[in-house]
Symmetry: C2
Subunit: 308 residues, 2 copies
């Protein structure tokens, strides 16, 4: 069963890790958001790709919520001493990722080709495909104007209200992404921020590819990142509200209603099941909170079980 | 007394440190070789500049012979795991230097402008001027053909015999170097490898600037890097021999004879003083081995004393 999972940084990455654990090797492909990629100190940083990479490699630092376990901070301390901006913290092992990748890109490799050897080197056999090979940069409009995503997300700590979101760049998917989606037996839209994590992936031609799978009776199953009205991590809840959505499973379901065939919501939100069903999707209620590896595997098994 | 010191990586850097210690603030300018600069992992590494930088900042690792004291190696370990070439070891704090500098250069700054803030950040008030703003790459011809300098120096551990040396790039000195040499009351040619450390500095127009100072009766004093026939560090002795020179203070003196007014040799080589004097230079015999900070200060004081 060929499964394509769309993922942002944390929820989607966790579910991808569960899917990797429960599927036979070779069955999973992860398509990852590149809209929050950014250049720091002349190096390309890919927060969502790297979250998935470290997660699937068993190195993700769950306590910190990003980066690798056991990180050290010598480079960052050195850069701070040199007067470089230090609000975007990067660990030493993380720098190795950004340095190796940036060197490959400066050698002329596209994102997909530049990141694959890094995945293989960390023992990750699951392909983690950047949604596009060329740069895309998510920007958010606040009351102070347009901000680069990481300026909003990290520097301003998601403080400002988001009034509008746009994706600056070339959303053309890679041949690898097109092939993976066209061959998928199941498409999973992971429990990541629907606006700025899944949003960029579905803002381009990938949306039509996924819609074509749904028309071909292939399940397209979205998992709600909102549980009990709040996002488990990140600003999805406030962002949904400030952009005129409802911060609820139902609010997320409305965003995916014209694309997904199936919607997975948490047991705590079971009362919203009829409303979501009325949107034309099959609904599935389960415990969606992934507190540990067992939780990730359990949700992955549930999601696959619902649609197969 | 405005002193300009020409320096390579270790001997010249040590003498520069002594000069900085004994001269009033503002009197010393160091012009540093950039011929052994190299790109590693997409980052510009400047071994001689950084040796002088760390030396003058009091951070040079004398035990290792390069880099900063207390270094850690997390980035290098990460890069090695990613399959990147690992024979050119760089510490984490060193990476901060290369990252900050490369970012400035990619922003369009020349070498001089890119490195000055790093010097200031480490508390080094002495200007350390790259000999040129544009890339120069020393290459050595061995029996296997032309090699980049660091391939010969680090990767092949100075094993092959050097048959020829060339400097690939633009040797045009910066306005800062020109101004410093033209204003110098003393020019010190440090005890660095005369072929590949001092050689690149004097292969371009700086040579004529220094010669003009000598004609204006400004002392140009060279300090021998060869003591008792051997180089205290590096391959200068074997390189002198394989290029047809003598590996001795006298051999070095012959190289500088048409430029320098004064030559400092070690007491152990005092028997060569008449030969060196016969080349037309004033000779000065002293203990040139700088075993510690006191030794560096002592040699600096001696050199300045000889010519003032």
């Amino acid at each position: 069963m060929r499964v394509v999972a769309l993922a942002g940084g944390t929820g989607g990455a966790k579910l991808a890790d569960g899917l990797q654990a429960v599927l036979p090797p070779g069955d999973l492909t992860v398509v990852v958001n590149t809209g929050d990629d950014t250049e720091r100190h002349g190096l390309l940083v890919m927060p969502d790709h790297d979250a998935v990479l470290y997660m699937l490699a068993g190195r993700f630092d769950f306590e910190r919520g990003w980066g690798q376990v056991g990180e050290t901070w010598a480079v960052m301390d050195g850069l701070a001493e040199y007067g470089e901006e230090a609000w975007f913290r990067l660990g030493d092992r993380d720098f190795a990722t950004h340095i190796a990748r940036t060197a490959r890109i400066r050698d002329g490799q596209g994102l997909t080709r530049a990141v694959r050897p890094l995945q293989v080197a960390l023992g990750v056999t699951t392909p983690i495909l950047p949604m596009a090979d060329r740069p895309v940069r998510t920007q958010v409009r606040t009351d102070d104007g347009w901000l680069d995503f990481q300026e909003y997300f990290v520097h301003q700590r998601q403080g400002p209200e988001v009034r509008e979101v746009r994706f600056d760049g070339d959303l053309e998917p890679t041949a690898e992404v097109v092939a993976a989606v066209e061959a998928a037996d199941v498409v999973v839209i992971g429990p990541s921020n629907p606006i700025v994590s899944i949003g960029p992936i579905l803002a381009g031609p990938v949306r039509d590819l996924v819609a074509a799978r749904a028309r071909a009776d292939i399940p397209v199953v979205a998992v709600s990142p909102i549980v009990g009205g709040v996002a488990l991590k990140g600003p999805a809840d406030r962002m949904l509200l400030s952009l005129g959505h409802e911060s609820s499973a139902r609010g997320v379901a409305r965003i995916y209603a014209d694309l997904a065939t199936d919607f997975v919501l948490d047991a705590i939100d079971a009362d919203q099941e009829p409303d979501i069903g009325a949107l034309g999707m099959r609904t599935h209620v389960t415990d969606t909170v992934m507190a540990d590896a067992a939780g990730r595997d359990r949700l992955a098994r549930s999601v696959l079980g619902f649609v197969s």
